[in-house]
């Protein structure tokens, strides 16, 4: 398998292409749903992990083996659950009308560029968060799928410099008191939707 950052980029480009086809306003509705979902995950992930550390989810077989370390099976389960939540939100955002802005978006070059930009932003949010979850739970999958020991320098620098969505825009996973930029983006997008 090729480097993970190339896969990430290709998927983000795919979303950008979809953004151009669907148009700027429809994609903006998807962005609101995605930002809301990411904000929810940013709050939910540390909460669930704290429950596991406190032993409150032992009846599900989930427990911590060290202060900040879970079993591989626990990591795998958490990663799958959170990734499914994200993918369900993506499905709902693209399938339904949800929060799409009504009307017709700008035409011509401007419309294409705006669709491309917002589609790429959506791609970054979706695929970046999938990667972030993989990394956060220490790649609990077969090395044949993703092998963290064989990561390129670029992939490591993307992770270590906090360029994935929940590191760059969130704050809950590093400090419970921090709300990050997701809350600000969400509030502005909702105001924009209401004012319009």
């Amino acid at each position: 398998m090729g480097p993970i950052e190339y896969l990430w980029l290709i998927l983000a480009m795919f979303f950008a292409f979809v953004g151009v086809i669907r148009g700027f306003l429809k994609e903006l509705g998807v962005t609101i749903v995605l930002v809301a979902t990411l904000f929810a995950l940013d709050r939910l992930i540390p909460l669930i992990e704290q429950f596991i550390r406190d032993g409150k989810l032992q009846f599900l077989g989930l427990k911590a083996i060290a202060p900040n370390q879970f079993e591989v099976s626990t990591n795998l389960l958490l990663m799958i659950v959170f990734q499914l939540i994200l993918l369900a939100a993506v499905f709902v955002a693209y399938q339904g009308e949800t929060l799409a802005f009504e009307g017709s978006g700008p035409k011509g070059f401007l419309g294409v560029m705006l669709g491309l930009m917002i589609g790429m932003a959506n791609g970054y949010l979706v695929t970046g968060t999938l990667w972030w979850l993989l990394n956060h739970y220490r790649y609990p999958v077969s090395p044949a799928i993703v092998d963290p020991t064989k990561m390129t320098e670029l992939a490591r620098s993307i992770i270590n410099n906090g360029l994935l969505p929940l590191d760059l825009l969130g704050g809950g996973t590093t400090s419970v008191d921090s709300f990050g930029l997701l809350s600000v983006i969400l509030v502005i997008l909702i105001i924009l939707k209401v004012v319009r």
């Binding site: 978006g105 700008p106 930009m117 932003a121 490591r156």
Partner: protein
Amino acid sequence: MTEISIPELIFVGILMLFFAAWGWRHGLDAVLIAGVFVLFGRFSADILAKPVASSVNIFVGVFKVMTGGQFSRDALMAAIFGGDKAPTPLINMADPNDVVLKWIGTIIFVMIVYLGFKFAFKRAGGRDPLLERVFGFVGGGIAGYMCITFVLDRHVIFPLPVVIEPSDVPQIHVDAPLLVLVILVLIVFGVGRAKPAKKK
């Protein structure tokens, strides 16, 4: 080294306010046009500075030859095309940190930005709806930030309170709040240009 006692952020913030006020007054569309010129200026100022600096070197060289009392055809040609007999150049073209070269780049950048803001004012300087004015304020602040930091980073060295440690992993710096603001400004611009749905 120039030392400034007030924190860099406050200094930049106060200067940004002027740009933000311009954005508030003239709206989002004007800010976006000006922003394109700012980006172009940041990208091209140093590139354009080189031919300008070469011209300055030639002009100064010819002036030195004429006033130095050693005027000859060979000395004049050397001053224009270079060579062993050429007078010492005013600007060291091989050194990107040459002070005069940096200042020429800065002057070119300021001229591009000035023309950009004038052009933006003429093309789109009218009053906009409140929402676009608010984001014009934000966008103006961002454009101002890009202008101010471009100039300051070239000519002022602020005291560094952090210790930079070597790392095996290459550092990639992304200013997340700035990036988010730019995208939000573009989103508001796009929404402002969209036609509302017809009432049923």
